[in-house]
Structure formats: structure tokens, C-alpha cells
């Protein structure tokens, strides 16, 4: 049901700009107003949610870790998995953010004959996720050529590396093929793995299908239904320099691509896609395990009224002495 609904939503999102620009001549709406609105929603929503997260107190360290913590000098510390310093934590976070180290430890549980339970390593999800995220990042950065004049040299270099195999014309980018394959795998995994299907919701299927739609329209635009990309760059440069212009020789397919991207940006702050900033705030990954070296005081600690034994003895010393009770301080 969630899959059908998501598919239906994507179909509507494709048909809207198709009718809007193909029949109703709403190029300005789909080329300027909606992209601007989406970007504003993205930035404001993102800032709002992150600041909301930032207000959450961090009372103590969570030393959950996968390795030996710093201890006596003759016990070897696992510095990457259980860092006790700032830079150690930076290294652990870098591995987490860039290479999804936690996901690398993914296991799958199987009930085998016996019955016997077995836990085996399962790297496919890690591989699919890594392939998707890196392709998406490279494609995102490559699109900078539509928003920069002159195009910086590192965008050229990235394009050159991405088209390393020089297959086809225009040269096929490796990331274009990889992102489609990875998204297809991630989607089919949700459909065919009964355990994952059971916990999948519409907000899991929808972003996947949306990204597939964006990748598919982008690939169509580049390789199959080519359009006047100089006009598209004029649109992009107009948007980025806040002097929007809408060239008239841009096809509806481009507006579908742009609209789906706008939807992705607008949807971002309201969805699980917020794991992009969220990964940096993973509590078990971004805190150095230094609880034994530094005292972390809970900021909402109630000021407890204490009455220590010393104070107690001061208060009742005379009575205690009269009763013959032992005193720590007798004067």
C-alpha cells in the first residue's frame, strides 16, 4: 500500500510540471517561483530543526563503544573505536560520515536447521548505501557547472574522472550508472526482504522513488532526450544571481527534473533525510570517552540539599559525647 501511494505521489509530481509547462505555459512558476520557495523552505527548515536539536542538553558521555577504552598504560587502547581525545573523536566521526563504519558492522540473523540461530555479516546494505551517497554527492557537485561562470577547474576534473571510461557520447558518467543501480537495489531490498518490508513506511519508499525519478530524468536529459543546456545554464545563472530569467527553448522534461529536485529540497527538513545533519550528532559516535578523566555535570541537576556526617556531628556533638558515642572530631 505504501509503495502504491508513493508511486502515485511520484506520478502526480511528474504530471504537474508536464501539464504546467507543456500546456499552461507556467514556466515562470516551475522555473523560478517553485525552486526559490523550495530552497527557502530547505534552508529555514534545516536551520530551525538543527537549532532545536542544539538546545538539547548533553548531560553525560555515552561510552557505548566497540573497543578497549583508554586504561592503564600496558593495555592497548582502541583509539578509533573508543577515542578519549578530541582528534580521536574527529577520526571516528570522519569514518562514520564518509564511510558509514557503523553500517559496515551490519549483521543479519538467520534461523538455520537445528534450530540454530546464526549471525552473519551483511555488507550489501553498506555497499548500496555507500554507492548511492557518494554518487549523489559527486552528481550534486558536478551540477555546480550550471551555477558558476567561469566553471571552476575542479568541476572539470571531477567530470573528467567521472567519465573516465569514455564510453558513449556524451560520455557516460560512472556515477549515473552507479546511482541508478544503488537506488534500485535499496528499493528492491525494501520490497523483497520480508523483514525490511514489514518496517517500511511511505516515508521510506517516497524519498527512494523521488531520487530514482530525479536520476532517471537527469539521465534522460543528458543521454536520450537532449535539450538546449546553454538555455538551462542561463536559467541556473539567473536563479543564483537573483535576477531570474526564463529562456523559452527549454523542454518540459527539464521542468520535470527541476520540479522533482525542488520537491526533494522542500521535503528534506520534514523527513528522515535530516539524517544528513543528524549523523554529525550521533551521541555514541561524537563524544570522547573521557568520563574517567573529566567530570561531566548534568545541567539540569536539582540543587540537592545535603547534610553530611561532618555537619551532623557538629550539630549533635555535645549530645553524642554525653551519650558516650564515638566521635570523629572530639574537641
Amino acid at each position: 500500500m505504501s509503495v502504491v501511494l508513493s508511486l502515485f505521489a511520484i506520478a502526480v509530481l511528474v504530471i504537474l510540471p508536464l501539464i504546467g509547462t507543456g500546456l499552461l505555459q507556467l514556466e515562470y512558476l516551475f522555473g523560478v517561483i517553485i525552486p526559490y520557495a523550495a530552497i527557502i523552505l530547505f534552508l529555514v527548515g534545516m536551520i530551525y530543526r538543527i537549532l532545536k536539536w542544539a538546545n538539547v542538553p548533553v548531560p553525560f558521555r555515552i561510552p557505548t563503544s566497540c573497543g578497549q577504552q583508554q586504561s592503564l598504560s600496558w593495555i592497548k587502547q582502541n583509539e578509533l573505536d573508543n577515542p578519549s581525545t578530541f582528534w580521536g573523536t574527529v577520526k571516528r566521526m570522519a569514518l562514520e560520515v564518509l564511510f558509514f563504519r557503523s553500517l559496515f558492522r551490519n549483521t543479519k540473523v538467520e534461523l538455520r536447521e537445528g534450530p540454530r540461530i546464526s549471525y552473519t555479516s551483511d555488507k550489501w546494505l553498506w555497499l548500496g548505501a555507500l554507492a548511492f551517497h557518494w554518487s549523489f554527492l559527486i552528481i550534486f557537485v558536478r551540477h555546480f557547472k550550471f551555477f558558476a561562470e567561469p566553471v571552476p577547474i575542479w568541476v572539470d576534473t571531477l567530470q573528467l574522472l567521472d567519465g573516465f571510461f569514455q564510453i558513449g557520447l556524451p560520455i557516460i558518467y560512472v556515477t549515473d550508472a552507479v546511482i541508478l543501480a544503488a537506488l534500485t537495489y535499496l528499493f528492491l531490498r525494501r520490497i523483497f526482504n520480508p523483514l525490511v518490508r514489514y518496517i517500511s513506511l511511505i516515508n521510506d519508499y517516497f524519498p527512494l522513488l523521488l531520487l530514482m525519478g530525479i536520476a532517471a530524468t537527469g539521465i534522460l536529459l543528458r543521454y536520450f532526450l537532449k535539450t538546449d543546456i546553454v538555455a538551462i545554464k542561463e536559467l541556473g545563472m539567473g536563479l543564483i544571481s537573483l535576477h531570474p530569467v526564463v529562456p523559452d527553448n527549454i523542454g518540459a522534461l527539464f521542468y520535470i527534473h527541476l520540479f522533482l529536485v525542488s520537491v526533494l529540497f522542500a521535503y528534506f527538513p520534514f523527513s528522515k533525510l535530516m539524517h544528513m545533519p543528524g549523523v554529525f550528532l550521533s551521541p555514541t559516535r561524537n563524544m570522547a570517552n573521557n568520563s574517567r578523566m573529566r567530570r561531566h555535570i548534568n545541567p539540569w541537576n536539582y540543587p540537592v540539599k545535603t547534610h553530611t556526617y561532618e555537619e551532623y556531628e557538629d550539630e549533635f556533638r555535645d549530645l553524642m559525647r554525653a551519650a558516650g558515642l564515638p566521635l570523629e572530631k572530639d574537641k
Binding site: 538543527i50 558558476a148 561562470e149 566553471v151 545563472m237 544571481s241 545533519p277 554529525f280
Partner: protein
């Protein structure tokens, strides 16, 4: 303890990165630049309609190359029945002899680096 200051610093870094294209173009001052193609020929028409040539000329050139190199098929019948020699140097560059003011304009603008010129010479530059 709160990590608010660190998170705000991270947020600022993100905002600088995501708005980088804006600063880049403000600093470059070329945001309004548009490639201006110069036509230096008296010919009235190309081998295919302008719209098609603008977006798909690379397909045509690719087809021509394959047909000439693999099948020795050198004659191109255009959309309105004219015959052309399938040749980048002799047909295309005959009219568009100003590579720097024609081909390169859009290719530079779009950061496209076609490998045509790995083999083909530009007649004007040779002379």
C-alpha cells in the same frame, strides 16, 4: 553541558558551503555573461534545423564518424533533400570556420571538452 556552540559552528560551515555558488558568482562578476555565437557564413541553412543542431549536434557528428570510418559512407542526405559530405573539417568548419567564436563559446560556458580536436585540425589555425 550543551554542545550548542559547536552545533552552531557546524551549521554556519554548512551554510557557507551550500551558498557557495552565490559568493562565487558575486566575486567572479560574470553571472550575466551569455555565450554570443558569431556566424561568419552567407549560407542560409545548416545540415539540420537549428533546434536539433543546438541540442543534438554531437549525435550527428558521432553518427557521421561511425558511418564514414566503418562503412565509407560519406554522403549525408539532409532533412530538406540536400546532399552534404560527412566531414567535420570540410562541411561543418567550412561555414563555422571560427571555432573560437562558435564551438568554444558554448563548450567553455558549459565546461564541455569534446575530443573532436584530438584528431581534427582547425583549418584557420593551420594556415
Amino acid at each position: 553541558m550543551q554542545d550548542k556552540s559547536k552545533i552552531v559552528i557546524g551549521l554556519l560551515i554548512f551554510l557557507v558551503i551550500i551558498t557557495f555558488p552565490i559568493w562565487y558568482n558575486l566575486a567572479g562578476g560574470k553571472a550575466t555573461y551569455r555565450p554570443d555565437l558569431k556566424y561568419v557564413t552567407d549560407a542560409k541553412e545548416c545540415v539540420a534545423p537549428t533546434d536539433y543542431m543546438t541540442s543534438n549536434h554531437m549525435d550527428l557528428l558521432n553518427e557521421w564518424r561511425d558511418e564514414v570510418v566503418r562503412d565509407k559512407d560519406r554522403v549525408y542526405m539532409s532533412f530538406n533533400g540536400n546532399k552534404y559530405d560527412k566531414s567535420l573539417t570540410n562541411t561543418c568548419l567550412d561555414c563555422h570556420s571560427n571555432k573560437a567564436d562558435f564551438c568554444d563559446k558554448c563548450h567553455d560556458y558549459m565546461s564541455v571538452d569534446p575530443y573532436c580536436w584530438d584528431c581534427h585540425i582547425i583549418p584557420e589555425e593551420v594556415h
